[in-house]
Symmetry: C2
Subunit: 302 residues, 2 copies
DNA sequence: TGCATTTACGAGACACGTAATCATT
DNA sequence: AATGATTACGTGTCTCGTAAATGCA
């Protein structure tokens, strides 16, 4: 196979991309320089080089803002940088499988089986250094891609049988590990608590709690819900407490609601909705992450 | 926002990645050098640099083959390079929206509505330079990511309501535009033609035609089908001809089979299976690609 | 006038090619 | 021996920092 033709455009320099992202995020050449530990001058030159390479202005100066082309590049840039990191992390793990297990999960991905599996693993290899990180979905997905965490569990609400629609940041594969009905959580004495089922579309005018880190309704397949309260935390106990206190409604997995006194879960008639938990895995399952994945019921890949 | 801490690992040099991919694919330093128009020496140095950077051997020499770490890197490398190209293409299109429309599709993604929409577009802007490219799924998806084509239609078989599971190569979003029942295509006089419905799992021992470019059954949610014939083409007419002539069975969309004399489509009882066509779009819909997308019934993004 | 970006310039690092060397079949 | 990867070395390019210049509020 001696094809000698493979004329390729020059690569976009990731170094420049990183600088570009820094400028875009800080909104300032000097601030970006500070963050990257460069001089202002270097940043200016790098942006100029990138603009020359791409043949267009990426930023306006004074004030610094993204142009249309800049916005497009920015969308790609972060993904590229994450991938680059992910590649390095993946190779690194091939050399020295870490003697640690860092499990990352979104708040609602936690469940008894997860707890049990983790306990089992830690029982097996007693001196395993293990961490658990709870954060919002995007953070967890990115961390899984870059190898910052070894295994990720993310949750979300979808139509039955639908996989979660995840942002695609790494070369991971999502495998479903758990599913349960979705319900609207309401206080026990709330008028809706006696209803047999609800149509979310009829509840657009109800007061909802938007909890971006836990159960953002921007990702529900329903339009126009209005948030009466925005909850910035990642703690589910506080969140259910808010619901029980009557601050608003929220969609949650049924088993969780059942376990909270003061809360009633009302089934959702439409749209058809389930709560799903998916495991994010790289094609190579390092131990002990692979064993945990197996305990959670994920099949070996391929 | 003047956070000055952002210590970051050095990026993996895409230049080196490209060389690495060339070596991995050609299985030879010299062949890679030829393809990239470098000297052997340069390639050798680049691989050495990459291995030093990552701290591990990526390739064995004599014979040249990927190590474990090398395999991992290889999986990432192509995706990264595609993304890099995609970023450049996307920015380029922001500057000068192309006065052309290149539509890429997998063979079974073609349908009357697609044809009609394309005719409509071409009627609107008479002198529109338009191309149509038909190829296998991976090629089409990659081409859409790199901007080689402006709009892509890809098809596949999934469970009802499931989206297609596409390899994730660019920053595209898939939107379903068509669906139809999946059937097993058999010759009219075939014994199975009289059956009301079939369970694919019972047909593992039948003779199948595997057509990787058209309807690869490796992507069907059924295990262990055996191919009696492998069809390497992308032409559907030849393929249905082979089926009609009794060379084997294949799963196809019902409407297609109905239109072919000599073929009978037998409904599939299990697993539940539909044929879907999805439109791949970048977040920015350049004209005229955006108009075609709209004609095909895709909603504006976001 | 003052703060922020750009330009000019020189020093160091880097990556290529040439060519000699080494290794494997 | 011959094919093919590596090493040594020189040259040109590139990118950084310093410092001076420019430009917008």
């Amino acid at each position: 196979m001696t094809d000698d033709i493979g004329i390729s455009i020059a690569d976009v320099d990731p170094h420049l991309l990183r600088t570009f992202v820094a400028v875009a995020e800080t909104g300032s050449f000097s601030a970006a320089a500070q963050r990257l530990r460069y001089t202002q001058s270097a940043v200016s030159q790098q942006i100029a080089a990138l603009e020359a390479d791409l043949g267009t202005a990426l930023l306006t100066r004074r004030p610094v803002a993204l142009t249309t082309a800049g916005e497009r590049l920015h969308r790609h840039a972060n993904l590229i940088l994450v991938r680059l990191e992910a590649a390095r992390a993946d190779v690194t793990r091939a050399i020295a499988p870490p003697g640690r297990l860092i499990l990352g999960l979104t708040p609602l991905a936690w469940s008894e089986p997860v707890s049990a599996a983790l306990a089992r693993i830690r029982g097996d290899s007693a001196r395993l250094r293990s961490h658990v990180l709870v954060d919002g979905r995007d953070r967890i997905v990115t961390a899984a891609a870059t190898g910052e965490i070894d295994l990720a569990l993310v949750d979300g609400f979808t139509a039955p049988n639908d996989p979660l629609r995840l942002p695609e940041p790494g070369a991971q594969v999502a495998v479903g590990v758990a599913g349960s009905p979705a319900v609207v959580a309401v206080p026990d004495r709330h008028p809706l608590a006696r209803r047999a089922a609800l149509d979310l579309n009829d509840l657009a005018d109800a007061y909802w709690i938007d909890a971006p880190m836990v159960a953002p309704f921007s990702r529900l397949p329903v339009d126009g819900l209005r948030a009466g309260l925005r909850y910035e935390g990642a703690d589910v106990t506080v969140l259910t407490g808010l619901v029980a206190a009557g601050h608003g409604l929220i969609v949650l997995p049924a088993p969780l609601v059942e376990r909270r006194p003061g809360l009633t879960g009302v089934p959702i008639a439409a749209p058809r909705l389930v709560h799903r938990v998916e495991l994010l895995r790289t094609p190579n399952d390092e131990e002990p992450a692979g064993r945990l994945a197996a305990l959670l019921g994920a099949q070996p890949l391929q």
